[in-house]
């Protein structure tokens, strides 16, 4: 290895090959068949189960677990995928500890919920491994729908529409489909090319064409799509990032966490990725944790996740926070960045300690930082859009925007948690509403 964790500055190859291999392997290894049976047996098959209510896509969890327990994992997968076509990815990235598993009565009873996420993965992996698509398209309706964004919301919407017999064209600004599944989540959550495999499998429904490197506002326009298609669904996510408006905020060594993660996800060889010796990630959400943990896994000696409020206010779940801590990330709370110091490249970051009410204490602290990753929120890009609400596209319960014939869902739409599973639910529900409109 060319460098070590102690090498100053931003450098690649800090670890040996085995360490990279270990660090970026599956966070939760798949359950083997017996483990799955034992885990499934713990489900009480609750009446009107709280886990279903807690799932943004309303998956019938007790039913699919019973199907696993009785030796029919493919039937279980169909139960899952009927509600959530990206059940495979959601099984990997859902914060289950704050959704289904938090609601599990066994969590209440003994603090150990049924392993719903891992069981969901067991079932969906089992089906997907056979490389068959379990759904077929309804008779063609002759209607066409444009979907902007090939992320979870867009693909969920497209799949449902295609299944219902509509012809769908999906536009994505990037060169690959998958959205944040492909570019935005930590590598160890979906290793081995799972995101692309899931997209390929999903598209097997037929009736969906994907146009890559086609961005709304640059290559296509909302008006143009409206003129060309019977309906439009906007699911392009949040393309912009918030800037770090402080002294020295543009020094070398400062970059956006989303770019850092995207580069990592697209890297053929993670050992070639440069990372600082002393990395500071600013933010408190999932992106911040993903960036911080992966910096550590790339061989950074010290990684600090700096957040302006207390841990209880972080958007990252407790599980994610604990994961970061277990990987050696230091979580620093109640600090807001005030300046980046250095001669050209950043060398130190200066924070002010913050009160709970976000007022400054006047006390500051400096810590070493040769790489600073910004994870302080993303923003919606574009100017010719339907009416906004709090910086995002305003929608009603079924995803209709202020513009007739235009629906929206996922991170670019107002309301809802910015989770993969929420995006899938919004895309699906918008598709059902679009279908109702087109077949009325």
């Amino acid at each position: 290895m060319a460098h070590s964790p102690f090498s100053p500055g931003v450098a690649a190859g800090r670890l040996d090959a085995d360490a990279y291999q270990d660090n970026f392997s599956d966070l939760h290894p798949a359950l083997d068949p017996h483990e799955a049976l034992v885990a499934a047996d713990r489900c009480y098959f609750c009446h009107d189960a709280p886990c279903i209510t807690a799932c943004p896509t309303d998956i019938d969890i007790p039913l699919f677990i019973r199907q696993i327990a009785t030796g029919t994992p493919d039937a279980a997968a169909k139960t899952i995928l009927t509600q959530n076509i990206m059940g495979g990815m959601c099984a990997r990235v859902c914060p289950t500890e704050t959704l289904c598993e938090e609601a599990c009565v066994r969590e209440m009873a003994e603090g150990k919920p049924v392993l719903i996420g891992q069981l969901q993965r067991y079932a969906t992996d089992h089906l997907q491994a056979q490389d068959v698509h379990p759904f077929t398209r309804a008779a063609a309706t002759g209607k066409t729908v444009a979907v902007v964004g090939a992320g979870p919301a867009g693909l969920s919407c497209a799949h449902r529409l295609a299944m219902l017999g509509h012809d769908v064209t999906v536009y994505d600004a990037r060169s690959k489909a998958g959205g944040l599944n492909e570019y935005g989540i930590a590598a160890y959550k979906a290793p081995d090319g799972f995101a692309q495999a899931e997209v390929d499998w999903l598209l097997k429904i037929g009736g969906i064409s994907v146009e890559y490197e086609t961005a709304l506002g640059a290559d296509i326009s909302l008006d143009g799509l409206r003129a060309q298609f019977d309906a439009v669904f906007l699911g392009m996510g949040l393309g912009g990032v918030n800037a770090l408006a402080i002294d020295g905020g543009d020094r070398d060594g400062v970059l956006d966490a989303v770019d850092f993660i995207a580069d990592l996800r697209q890297a053929k060889d993670v050992s070639a990725l440069p990372v600082g010796r002393d990395v500071v990630v600013i933010g408190g959400g999932m992106t911040a944790v993903d960036a911080a943990v992966q910096s550590k896994l790339l061989g950074a000696l010290n990684v600090t996740l700096a957040y302006r409020r207390g841990r209880d206010r972080m958007n990252a779940s407790v599980f994610e926070q604990d994961l970061a801590a277990s990987k050696g990330v230091r979580i620093m709370t109640h600090v807001a960045p005030v300046a980046l110091h250095g001669n050209g490249s950043v060398r130190e970051i200066e924070f002010e300690y913050m009160n709970d009410d976000m007022s400054g204490t006047g006390q500051t602290v400096r810590i070493a930082a040769d790489q600073v990753l910004r994870a302080i929120g993303q923003t919606l890009e574009g100017d010719v859009l339907p009416a906004l609400d709090g910086g995002k596209i305003a929608v009603n319960a079924t995803g209709q925007t202020s513009v007739d014939g235009v629906w929206a869902g996922g991170d670019c739409a107002a309301g809802g948690d910015d989770l993969t599973v929420t995006a899938v639910a919004e895309g699906r529900d918008a598709a059902m509403d679009i279908h109702a409109r087109l077949t009325a």
């Binding site: 017996h34 049976l37 034992v38 047996d41 009480y44 098959f45 609750c46 009446h47 009107d48 189960a49 709280p50 009565v105 066994r106 209440m108 009873a109």
Partner: protein, 435 residues
């Protein structure tokens, strides 16, 4: 510490835990290991006539039913009686008994239903110094097709006849092992008693097919694509065995005969339950086959601790203690009124009680929007299903209503006095007119 010494039909063993006649007791090697592990006695695997030994199948002999995590709940087998030479077995029995004089050594026998056959083998067994014999009238597979085992056990007259021969040609205790594959277990037990048996042991295994392979369409265990009903045993059969034991213990015609309890005994608690239903000792097989001989240590310590806790100094202190409480349905107290009660502090809101009651019983549990489940006393018949399906122990209990209060379901006062069906006004054959 409680004295676990067991004296069963005059046979003393250091504890009441015997290994049943079965694969674990087929040869000297196993039996010596069993005694070293602490078993109080063994019933040697069934001996047949001299001559060419029986042959077993050369494929799977066992099939199983599993609970969670592959916990073995029920086992079935199609193994026959010992397939080793009679004289080899007899020599081994003699040697082991000589080396373990304090342990009970019983020899299980199955020969054809002919007096000569019994007359021939009994002196040979007598000569081993074993403490008694057990007549295998229960084996339900294979041997029964040849007129032995369960084929004898299903005909009370044969039981009585063979038992009589045994008492005539053998000087020590005779235990008759009963098959459960019969309508009324009291009939063969009475026949054994009439024939002079010192004790009955029950149950032998139950005819069973554990599963069918849905690919090959063969029952399991499968021998080259075919299966035969085997004898079912293990924890799953315990309730059946206990009911049969209790019938013999409480029937005037059979009560008093010594009973050796068999059927799914896996823990000290199972053993204690059989004893409260009248068994002087118990025999174990499947538990040993599942976990090995060591389980007897838990049985000894568990029974001993429980006896100390209850102040029992010997097994006779509690043997049969539950028998007077086993009765016919018609004598159950119809004035006893209970209602389910849900402990909200323990409830985990799974809703299983609600689903069970709402879908399949009496619609006596309500569910609120925030998942609070409550019993509707006006509908609850105290069926106990909610208690049975609740995953939390003691969360739902059946609470007896105080006499004098009004049952909201019937709107009648709960009477303090015992009254059963025999005197109930709805009973056309009531023996006493209702007041």
């Amino acid at each position: 510490m409680a004295d676990l010494t067991s004296t069963f039909v005059g046979i003393t063993s250091p504890n009441p835990f015997w290994l049943a006649s079965a694969p674990p007791t087929d040869k000297e090697y196993n039996v010596r290991r069993a005694f070293e592990a602490g078993w109080g006695g063994v019933v040697w695997k069934t001996l047949g006539q001299a001559g060419p030994p029986v042959v077993n199948v050369n494929g799977p002999r066992y099939g199983a039913i599993y609970g969670a995590d592959r916990r073995l709940l029920g086992l079935n087998n199609i193994e026959l009686i010992t397939d080793r030479d009679l004289y080899t077995n007899l020599e081994e029995i003699k040697r082991v008994k000589a080396d373990y004089p304090d342990r009970a050594m019983i020899v299980s026998i199955m020969v054809p239903c002919e007096e000569e056959a019994w007359k021939e083998i009994l002196p040979l067994v007598e000569d081993t110094g074993a403490d008694g014999i057990e007549l295998n009238f229960g084996c339900p597979h294979g041997m029964s097709e040849r007129g032995m085992g369960a084929a004898v056990g299903q005909v009370p007259e044969y039981i009585e006849m063979v038992t009589r021969w045994c008492k005539q040609y053998y000087s020590k205790p005779v235990i008759v092992k009963l098959t459960p594959n019969i309508t009324d277990i009291r009939k063969p037990a009475a026949a054994a008693k009439a024939g002079g048996a010192d004790a009955v042991s029950l149950i032998n295994t139950i005819n069973s097919i554990t599963s069918v392979n849905l690919d090959s369409m063969s029952p399991e265990p499968s021998i080259d694509g075919q299966g035969s009903h085997g004898g079912y045993c293990g924890p799953a059969v315990k309730p059946i065995a206990m009911s049969m034991v209790s019938e013999i213990a409480r029937d005037p015609e059979t009560s008093g005969i010594a009973i050796s309890g068999i059927g799914g005994i896996t823990t000290w608690r199972d053993a204690a339950e059989f004893m409260t239903l009248g068994c002087g000792n118990v025999q174990v097989c499947t538990a040993a086959m599942t976990y090995g001989f060591k389980i007897v240590q838990e049985m000894i310590s568990g029974l001993s601790e429980w006896m100390d806790e209850k102040g029992h100094t010997s097994i006779d202190d509690f043997r049969g203690a539950a028998v007077p409480n086993v009765t016919d349905w018609q004598y159950l107290n119809l004035n006893y009124v209970a209602k389910a009660q849900i402990n909200q502090d323990l409830c985990i809101s799974c809703g299983r009680c609600y689903a069970a009651c709402e879908d399949t019983s009496h619609q006596a549990i309500s569910m609120s929007d925030d998942r609070v489940f409550e019993v509707i006393d006006g509908e609850c018949v105290a069926c106990n299903l909610c208690v049975n399906v609740c995953p939390v122990e003691d969360c739902i209990t059946m609470e007896a209503m105080t006499p004098g209060t009004i049952d909201p379901r019937t709107e009648k006062v709960v009477e303090p006095d015992y009254a059963n069906w025999t005197t109930h006004p709805n009973n056309p054959a009531a023996t006493t007119a209702a007041e």
